[in-house]
């Protein structure tokens, strides 16, 4: 079962009041939501670590949620923030290739998910920036391999990653 926006917002409000049972349910739902959210946007081997990182960030910053506002856009902003941080920090060559995530394929994309999705951020990048980040930071290729594959020089790949991540940081709260 997937909890809807209203249910999640209600659970979060209860969690802010100290209701640990509501909090457990909320974190479990968020864990599932985040796993789907990150599908194909980070190497599969890193998804669990990133989901746990976001759950801890949620816990640390739970006071920052305003119960008068929707919950998922708040969660998505934090998820995007930690995702960009992870792309910056974790560069590992030779990661597993990405595979299709059946959870995303099978599930019904709801409006909120579409509005806050990570794909919305990627389309704001220039094609060389998106290509460089996807190859090096998500698929785990080396800069040299990305250079050969894209036809960009190695310096250009590095510059495009740097500029692209900087641009993504500025776009975290942007929905369109």
């Amino acid at each position: 079962m997937r909890a809807d926006e209203g249910t999640l917002a209600g659970l979060m409000a209860k969690a802010q009041g100290g209701d640990s049972r509501a909090y457990t349910v909320l974190l479990s739902e968020c864990s599932t939501w985040l796993t789907r959210y990150y599908a194909n946007r980070i190497a599969p081997s890193q998804v669990d670590d990133l989901v746990q990182d976001v759950l801890m960030a949620m816990h640390r910053k739970r006071a920052s949620y305003d119960p008068a506002r929707p919950f998922l856009p708040w969660l998505a902003a934090i998820a995007r923030y930690r995702w960009i941080d992870a792309l910056r920090k974790h560069y590992r060559a030779g990661m597993d290739d990405l595979h299709e995530d059946s959870a995303t394929q099978d599930s019904e994309e709801d409006a909120v998910m579409a509005r806050v999705s990570l794909a919305r951020l990627f389309v704001k990048l220039s094609p060389p920036q998106a290509e460089a980040i996807a190859l090096v930071k998500i698929e785990g290729r080396s800069v040299r391999e990305a250079s050969q594959e894209t036809g960009q020089s190695e310096s250009a790949v590095k510059v495009n990653i740097h500029r692209g991540l900087k641009k993504l940081s500025a776009l975290i709260e942007k929905a369109e």
């Binding site: 009041g17 049972r21 974190l27 746990q52 759950l55 960030a57 739970r62 856009p73 995007r80 709260e173």
Partner: protein, 213 residues
């Protein structure tokens, strides 16, 4: 869900304590408190200029300080909201307001309507003093907002630092402006707006490292 995630969720739930949820109203009250403290400091140290209170200052005085105040509150509202991130938030209004405020120094520097020469404006013997005092008063708001943002979860530290600086500079400059008897367009538009640029620059350069989490 894997075992590590389940175990983490159990730990986090066991560690749960009630928190005071973010409320925009709290941030606006904080802004109001920072402005009142800034005004008290200016009143105690410099005293308010009687011309400002009696309504005999030039229109430029009210125009300049009024725009600074409105700009300061617009940036402050953005800073308050940044503590509670959300996809869909938009802060572009503050930048439009900055462009609006920029009209003041542009008009002063070009001498349109006054015939002043730009180089004369920089010979103002009290100008730098006003800019520095305004910047010093801005510290009150800057400290309050830094604490607010550190409690929250700003997801763009650079923007949060910049807007904190701009809000602080504008509100500090406007508060100090009430003590300054120089009410020409050139003085108000250059030296009382300068704290916005100074605080904005310092906010952008210094605050991000304090706001990342």
């Amino acid at each position: 869900m894997d075992r590590a995630s389940s175990s983490l969720i159990e730990d986090l739930a066991a560690d749960l304590e009630p928190v005071r949820a973010f409320r925009a109203r709290d941030g606006l009250l904080l802004t109001g408190a920072a402005v009142v403290i800034s005004l008290l400091i200016v009143a105690l140290i410099h005293g308010f200029w009687h011309g400002a209170i009696e309504g005999t200052a030039s229109p430029f005085f009210y125009l300049g300080n009024g725009l600074l105040t409105i700009f300061g509150f617009a940036c402050a509202a953005s800073v308050v909201r940044m503590a509670s991130p959300s996809v869909g938030n938009n802060y572009s209004g503050a930048y439009w307001m900055l462009a609006m405020l920029g009209v003041l120094p542009v008009v002063a520097l070009t001498g349109i309507g006054t015939g002043d020469h730009a180089h004369d404006l920089f010979k103002d013997p009290y100008g730098l003093e006003c800019a520095l005092h305004g910047s010093a008063v801005a510290l009150v708001t800057a400290v309050a907002f830094t604490g607010w943002l550190r409690r929250g979860a700003p997801v763009n530290a650079n923007r949060a630092g910049l807007l904190t600086g701009l809000a602080s500079g504008a509100l500090g400059g406007a508060a100090y402006g009430l003590s300054c008897p120089l009410d020409t367009l050139g003085h108000v538009a250059i030296w009382h707006v300068l704290p916005v640029a100074i605080a904005g620059f310092l906010g952008r350069m210094v605050l991000p490292r304090l706001l990342r989490w």
